[in-house]
Symmetry: D2
Subunit: 325 residues, 4 copies
């Protein structure tokens, strides 16, 4: 399904793996400050923060999978099929369609705290973008360049906004249960544990990496949550932007879904279509795809953000092999 | 430590992850047909099959970590610290130093079967390359372009050559035990299992990827053996060389060791320094490094293989980001 | 901590393991129909259903750990330290202290459905039995002789009554999370799984019992929940009361906590102090202790239940060895 | 299949769970000192150490499943189907049929060391007791009252005698592999591990017993080996024979196979038919059965051991419930 992380390394890096069985034709999309963002039930935004991220565009509307804004706030929507529950439009609430939530927050919030305020009176309305484009069951992670992070879930019990102390989100079940499960793995370590099962017996550490023997490696949501947490918590801080970005993509790689390993229907497999990540301070968006392991990047500040039309970049999806002879 | 695989996809692709805490300065090294290969206790080879692979060079001698020859045989040495045992030089045996084994086999064998014959009378002699360069405790995997594969282990019980039915090798314990352990995971699947624990109770498959929930994700040798097997057995066959190579590197990525996750001494971490893989039929060598996610390649057949001097290529270790704006 | 089950075998058998670090001096206590049951905030009950179960007695009050009533309703309180939250006495609610809940329900409900009704307006009040005897953080399982079962949890979010489809309760975390976790183990089976990890490779089923290889065996609450579910769901139905009771205790034995395996403070270990179970139709109470593996029993219907004083039986806690010579 | 342990608690206690799908009609059998023990290929023993244990008798021959002798040596045969390999009778070897091995060793060895000597020139001959009673594929554990323990395995590679540092034996795979696998669980502990997966995040120890969360609970041989080791290594020493015996049976109980959980053929289930254990110093044999949880015992020294006829006791297999009213 999907994994989103925030990685702390001097600057903060935020992004995600998109795990799906079909490529939806996403592009890198910059929404400049004066592109009018229309909403169904709340006032449109004519001037707002600029946004960059992965998105499809329908009717000139950016349906972001994930992105960041120029203030260093990042946000991603991840599959939450089952627990996700959207509600009818409610009087007295800020009624926001699920597909509007990423552009709404990124256009308006300069921090996680501001995002929390915007969500305080929100109702995720069960509106579809169109008959053809039904609302997807999602939950969301919001992070900012101070390292703060929240999870947003709309379930049958209403809208919940959780502080996210690990800076990781995957999919079902509900976020608090992911944290409970993470506790089960508290002893996972980069070093081998002491022999406590039979202290009198010589039990050789016959392999390196013994401290992570019980780390899960499954494609399922709980396994990815635990593994991504372990990876991001122990990944070193690099000495440069390039080294940080390199490390960042290795974290996402640790929970990559390889083709063929997650069959969702006969002969249909989910896999990690793309991995992306942005430097929240610098507004630079980086990504790789399953088909192309080279990292590409788009810098939002190299564009004129005072314009009013969506700016798009094609996803570089061809393997670029460096032939040395 | 390390993981080596052979991936079947029309052609056969063979190579490995090198997991270590230090970069030893390896290069891509081509040993042409007339480069004299000297051995301590067996006759030198003045004319032989050409070889390409990752290697360090000492005193003009190619100390290959792994490589392939022009006949489509590949071979890699992997850490086997503990069980590995080399013996004094024995009369009546083909005494081969551990560091000679890869060049010896690749220079002489045109198939796994021929490698088996060469090993039939072999003794892995406990000789060091030099006082400074002690012999490393290793075991080996040999594969060829028919898909055949063997594992070679010299332990206190002598030299064993095992057929390798999975085409995967990691590290300790001994190979037969890795197969026993693999049996424990026989139920791992791309699809969710039936509810057999409590058939009368509705137990929702709350996440995709449920069939691999118990797949291990640790850095240790057993975990990587199981995960790499699952990945390679279910990875689809591509429609082109590029697609196959892409898939191949994703298999190795599934058992990549990220920096920071495997601490072998205080503040010293093992990680996947490079991943490589060759098309056994075509003699093209591909690789990536931890620092540079782009795939590079060297084609042995673009060199003059009838020469007598080692040909080297520098490892491309700088992250090559494709800046789109 | 504790495990409670209901076992279906013609009749229904209900009871629990009590896992604790100290023996609190419990007895088998019968509360006859005319023993006045006093409550702090709700009206006393002067005439009610008779109850039998494990209990300590303070000030002539039966503080039941678990028990059943003459109508075939069983109930047990289990440690729920952390999530458990009791509330101040609330106007308009049926305010029941946590230590009153078992006697209250068993005295008044002739079925799980009736228990649900009694709980519909309940508030678990944060009242202590006395300064010396503080309220324990608990949650509860109620079951009846139709096989119905519910879980009752009072957390910061209020009082929740869940249908319990598995008929098992252990401890933290909250009950819905236990069910989510149980889904992870849906493939556990009495039979070996097919080889799906590497179908082309011969992976011998080298041991019987392969279908339960991933069954957890820990002392922790999630492990016991999963293992007890597997055991109770697959335990056969016996041909007699004795055979059923035998099978029932084997289920509880599967999640027994052995002495020495669960250290809760230096040199202080939790273990399964007693296991008990009752035939919900017949009113016969059976039990064993850690110290005495022989099963003992007390039949409530062999007492005069029309009396007004508590009837007690001493727990048989001496190992009764049958010396054959 | 089966689990055998030696438990250290002042005295030493040795015995096993017999896990099988059928009750073979075993009895408690005492072989007195002058009962002639006949062997096929080695000299008969007319005078020898007295033996007590679980056995079937065929043609007046005691086919012991397990037992101890008056010198404090214990021995058990456990299923080893697959690796077990018996050889043709060999000249110059002590040829012992597999079914003769337990009586031979117990009749002749006063310590594990003496057993080793007896085995030094042994060949396990592939002889059947009779056409109807074929040799079972077994391996063996021998222990003595000093706490010493060995494992004896006859495989295609020959007869191996391993020191057994854990004092546990289950079934396949070969013993050294069980020890390797045990290393994977070295961090299992009675106490919760430190939070090393994400030290900055508060990950509550939400349940007691966290230190054993990854302890396996399966019916398979590897799971039982690990769990029995953990249990026996941490079980406290009692203050009396009864307390020790009580603790001993709880260790075996931790790896009991409940009926219904291990299906070996349609509707045929293996389960723990009996558990037994002897005080190696005192010659007292204790046992329980699946059907009867009360412990029974037979003391060899209460019989006249200077006789020449087998002495048998019936297994008490009826649940003896202590009705308190």
């Amino acid at each position: 399904m999907c994994t989103s992380i925030i990685y702390t390394a001097g600057d903060y890096y935020f992004g995600r793996n998109l795990d799906l069985e079909v490529d939806l034709g996403q592009k890198i999309v910059i929404t400049p400050r004066n592109k009018t963002l229309e909403f169904r039930e709340i006032p449109n935004l004519e001037h707002h923060y600029a946004i960059i991220g992965m998105s499809i565009i329908r009717d000139d509307y950016p349906l972001y999978f994930d992105g960041i804004n120029e203030k260093g706030v990042g946000m991603a929507g991840l599959n939450f099929n089952g627990p996700a529950h959207y509600f009818p439009v409610q009087q007295g609430k800020d009624n926001i369609a699920s597909f509007e939530l990423v552009p709404y927050i990124l256009a308006s919030a300069s921090s996680v705290n501001e995002a929390k305020k915007l969500l305080a009176n929100a109702n995720i309305a069960n509106l579809n973008f169109s008959d053809k484009l039904q609302a997807a069951p999602l939950h969301w992670i919001v992070a900012d360049k101070t390292g703060a992070s929240i999870t947003v879930e709309s379930t049958i019990e209403g809208l919940k906004v959780y502080d996210n102390p690990v800076g990781v989100l995957t999919n079902n079940p509900e976020f608090p249960r992911q944290l409970v499960n993470l506790s089960n793995y508290r002893g996972i370590s980069p070093t081998a544990p002491e022999n406590t099962i039979a202290p009198e017996v010589d039990l050789p550490v016959y392999s390196r990496g013994f401290g992570s023997h019980f780390l899960p490696g499954g494609m399922d949501s709980e396994s990815r949550f635990v593994k991504a947490t372990f990876a991001k918590m122990h990944t070193p801080v690099g000495n440069s932007e390039v080294e940080n970005i390199t490390n960042y993509f290795h974290i996402l790689q640790s929970v990559e879904q390889q083709k063929g390993l997650d069959e969702i229907a006969p002969n249909t497999y989910e896999y990690t279509i793309y991995s992306d990540g942005s430097n929240l301070s610098k507004g630079i968006f980086y990504y790789r795809t399953y088909e192309n392991s080279q990292i590409s990047s788009v810098d939002m500040h190299k564009e004129n953000l005072e314009t009013s039309e969506l700016i798009t970049y094609r996803v570089q999806n061809q393997q670029e092999i460096n032939y040395q002879n």
